[in-house]
């Protein structure tokens, strides 16, 4: 291959890479313009902050899911795990399952918000670790392991909660879901902080490099001295951790942990990651993309609602966007692989 040919090819690849990072962003900008034209009040700061609060729950899980999908894995259990971690947080916050239907916040003997948060993220991380272990040691594909996890964690949730919600947390815990710092909702701040941390980890650390390498070519990663199994387990721990964090924030926001919380979240979360340009085949993607993907879904839902589009139609639109995003991904791949 001549130098000229190489440079030519590089040009194509660069354009593809640019599109990969800016394509969803352009789409997001276009959506915001359209919704603003349709209804100028869409741009109200109140509405915009509303959107950020709405996307922060699935957004947090999507951050963890980005790690998983970068390794060419998948985690279908996150919705159920969220419900389970939420229930664990509630039990810890309230000191038991006894106050199930009581909205009273006085006279509880719970362990406080910090213990609840800690319990939620630790249980989430542990659950992810167990699934990661099944994937790497028992050699069961991630799809199957986490599909099993999806029903197991839901079952566990229903068992400890007896099917009902556990409600009524003290104000210090609810602040994490409903509080504001200046005009900014606390969940949005948590999401933003987590996103920045994840970006730094993936972009600037050796761990991040290893995640991309394992996703890009697991055999080459192994022959380059990476401990592939450990890295695979770690990404499921990370997504579990974020499911726990999201569960805590959601419970705080609703002042209640529902046994039926998070049903179908895995699909929203995976959609956000994939729309954000992370390849289901692993090795390609970014946290920035995931944030844009989550924002895109949030803006779409909010804007359609704003224009009185029924939630049925919303589902149709979001589904179609997902397919388009993956088609785009494949098309980019075919260009890069030329």
């Amino acid at each position: 291959m001549s130098i000229a040919e190489e440079q030519n090819q590089r040009g194509g690849v660069t354009i593809a890479r640019l599109l990969m990072s800016f394509g969803p962003l352009l789409f997001l900008a276009a959506l915001i313009v359209v919704f603003t034209v349709l209804k100028p009040s869409f741009m109200d700061p109140i509405n915009l902050f509303n959107i950020t609060r709405q996307i922060s729950i699935t957004g947090l899980i999507a951050l963890g899911m980005t790690f998983v999908i970068l390794t060419a894995g998948i985690d279908l259990s996150v919705g159920s795990l969220l419900a389970f971690c939420g229930m664990v947080a509630a039990v810890v916050a309230k000191g038991g399952t006894a106050n199930t239907l009581s909205l009273s916040t006085s006279g509880t003997q719970g362990f406080g918000w910090f213990a609840a948060l800690l319990a939620a993220v630790m249980v989430g991380a542990l659950a992810g670790g167990v699934q990661g272990f099944a994937i790497t040691r028992l050699k069961v594909p991630p799809f199957v392991v986490t599909l099993g996890g999806l029903t197991v964690f839901r079952g566990l949730t229903l068992t400890i909660s007896n099917g009902g919600p556990i409600s009524g947390f003290d104000a210090s815990m609810r602040w994490f879901g409903t509080g504001l710092i200046g005009p900014v909702p606390v969940p949005a701040l948590i999401f933003a902080t987590a996103a920045i941390l994840c970006h730094i980890v993936l972009r600037y650390t050796r761990y991040g490099r290893a995640v991309y390498a394992v996703g890009g070519n697991a055999e080459a990663a192994r022959l380059s001295g990476l401990r592939v199994d450990r890295i695979l387990v770690s990404v499921y721990v990370i997504v579990g951790f974020f499911a726990g964090l999201a569960a805590f924030v959601l419970s705080a926001r609703l002042n209640s942990s529902e046994a039926v919380a998070g049903i179908g979240y895995e699909l929203t979360v995976i959609s956000a990651v994939v729309i954000g340009g992370t390849s289901l085949f692993g090795g390609i993607g970014s946290v920035g993309g995931t944030v844009v993907g989550a924002a895109l879904i949030g803006v779409l839902q909010n804007g359609l609602q704003f224009n009185n589009v029924s939630s049925y139609t919303q589902s149709i639109v979001i589904g179609l966007i997902l397919i388009l995003a993956v088609a785009f991904d494949r098309w980019l791949k075919s260009r890069v692989r030329r």
Partner: protein, 533 residues
């Protein structure tokens, strides 16, 4: 080119066929013919043009010039399917059966016998399949899924399918390379039976003894040209005659020996009695059967062996990629037992694997992460953050040293030519300053000009005190860069000699012939032939 006057007319005639690829001539003016009821051996070293010729005959690509006739008519297959319709079936090393389907379904794929109502008649399919596979000596249940068969059995099923398609010429590409001794014998006897049934067979192989045992005639290619035809006259074609035709060339310019030879120092890596176990998931893979090898600082040890000789398995075992059953590996006087590549790498061993695309490069990533993936610890600080400045500086150092032609560190590695990709992989290991560097087929998929560059780099590395073990099936390459050469066959070391004393004939004999003892430099060809089975 008239050969012998044979009773039967020519079935396939190739006349002056030429094939160019973007300025490179892969085949030049090659002629051969095959008659019904004979086995023609097609021989030649790697890169001699055998695969190109097969691709033309099986309809994968058209020739650039020349003429091919089949059964007296012009033969210009548009596709492999078209070639099959003509009656020419090619059986490749990578078998084309669908593993999840049964033997019968594979044989009748796309043409299942139907009964009334147009439904598949399973009974007829089973009965017919049984008869078809009996022709190749198989007595398995046709309703067995193909995945449950050994490679040898799968091959026979492919041959059976070819026969059921009324094929008149069966081309077999290295059919014996993945087979055990007994399986080879069975395949050869079935080829003999087919010959009596007036099927024409073209047998492409590296294994000279097998070729000599079964072939009626041979056509030998060398550097894309016809090196000659050999004929069985009374007895089997003699091995020295084959080797002479295959090799018969002076070391070409491209493989000029580097002027400077390294002075070998102390033994760094020493392997004794190395054995591997049969992997239950790959029961037909080659196992190492007691390998002894010594590697010294500053030398390039060439390991010559054909596909299936165990050369790659040796590299993988030393590198901790495959499990070891018995034997010791000593590095710098200390016995080591690497349980994973990570262990071996930490001890100072590097491996440039055979299959660059699947085992070495990260296609989705840029050059920088591809370069530093094995040295993430060295290019990061105590908190796990990458020291990107240091990483980039190191890459640009290697870029100069190895003259890697690239646009930027961000460029996708897939955009580089094979030679430059290989240099990035070499840089990946050099960044670790390894004591031992194993390179497996270092110039596979590397264009001719870059090959010499890679060779030069290997020589430089040895001069810097790295012990280099170079595995290659290209003899000119082994001869060009090795200070010492060992040959392997069937999981054993079959010979050892200084690079200056080696030549292609000697190596080819050691690589291709069955000799259990350590042969001297004067291994008589007659002896070897006497062992022909």
């Amino acid at each position: 080119m008239p050969l012998v006057e044979a009773a039967s007319p020519v079935l396939l005639a190739v006349e002056g066929v030429t094939k160019h690829f973007a300025g490179v001539t892969a085949l030049s003016d090659v002629s051969l013919d095959v008659r019904p009821g004979e086995i023609l051996g097609l021989l030649g070293e790697n890169g001699a043009g055998k695969s190109t010729l097969l691709k033309i005959l099986s309809g994968v690509m058209p020739p650039s010039g020349g003429r091919i006739t089949f059964d007296g008519a012009d033969y210009q297959p548009a596709s492999p399917q078209d070639a099959k319709r003509h009656g020419i079936v090619t059986i490749y090393q990578e078998l084309s059966l669908i593993p999840t389907l049964t033997v019968a379904e594979n044989i009748f794929i796309g043409r299942a016998p139907t009964g009334r109502l147009g439904l598949v008649s399973w009974r007829k399919m089973e009965q017919d399949s049984r008869a078809i596979i009996a022709r190749v000596g198989l007595s398995i249940d046709p309703m067995t899924p193909v995945s449950a068969l050994s490679v040898a059995e799968q091959q026979l099923v492919e041959i059976a399918r070819a026969l059921s398609l009324k094929s008149r010429l069966i081309i077999m590409d290295e059919p014996t390379s993945a087979l055990t001794e007994t399986e080879v014998q069975r395949l050869l006897s079935i080829m003999d039976r087919l010959r009596k049934d007036h099927v024409a067979i073209m047998f492409v192989t590296h294994r000279l003894e097998e070729a000599s045992a079964i072939c009626d005639r041979m056509t030998v290619l060398r550097d894309g040209r016809l090196a000659g035809h050999l004929d069985r006259q009374g007895g089997p074609i003699k091995l020295p005659a084959i080797i002479e035709k295959m090799v018969g060339r002076a070391a070409s310019e491209l493989y000029a020996r580097p002027a400077q030879r390294a002075v070998a120092g102390d033994v760094v890596l020493s392997v004794r009695g190395l054995r591997t176990v049969r992997d239950p998931e790959a029961p037909h893979a080659i196992v190492l059967d007691g390998v002894d090898i010594d590697l010294k600082t500053g030398e390039i040890l060439g390991v010559a062996g054909l596909v299936g000789s165990g050369r790659t398995e040796l590299a993988r075992a030393i590198f901790g990629a495959d499990r070891i059953a018995a034997g010791t590996i000593t590095l710098d006087g200390r016995e080591i037992a690497p349980a994973s590549p990570a262990d071996a790498i930490a001890l100072g061993i590097g491996l440039v694997p055979e299959d660059r695309k699947h085992q070495a490069i990260f296609a989705a990533l840029g050059i920088l992460p591809n370069f530093s993936v094995a040295s993430l610890g060295r290019f990061s600080n105590g908190f796990g953050f990458m020291a990107e400045r240091r990483e980039r500086d190191a890459l640009s150092g290697f870029r100069k040293m190895l003259s890697i032609r690239m646009a930027s560190a961000e460029q996708a590695i897939e955009g580089l030519s094979g030679g430059n990709q290989q240099k990035v992989i070499l840089a990946r290991w050099l960044a670790r300053d390894p004591k031992v560097l194993i390179v497996d087929e270092p110039t596979r998929g590397v264009d001719v000009g870059a090959k010499a560059e890679v060779h030069q780099i290997l020589v430089q590395l040895a001069a810097r005190g790295i012990a280099v073990m170079m595995i290659s099936s290209e003899l000119p390459e082994v001869l060009a860069v090795s200070d010492r050469i060992v040959t392997m066959r069937k999981g054993r070391i079959t010979g050892q000699m200084p690079g200056v004393e080696a030549n292609e004939e000697k190596l080819m004999e050691l690589m291709a012939l069955d000799r259990q003892d350590t042969p001297g430099q004067d291994a008589p060809a007659q002896d070897a032939e006497g062992q022909t089975r």
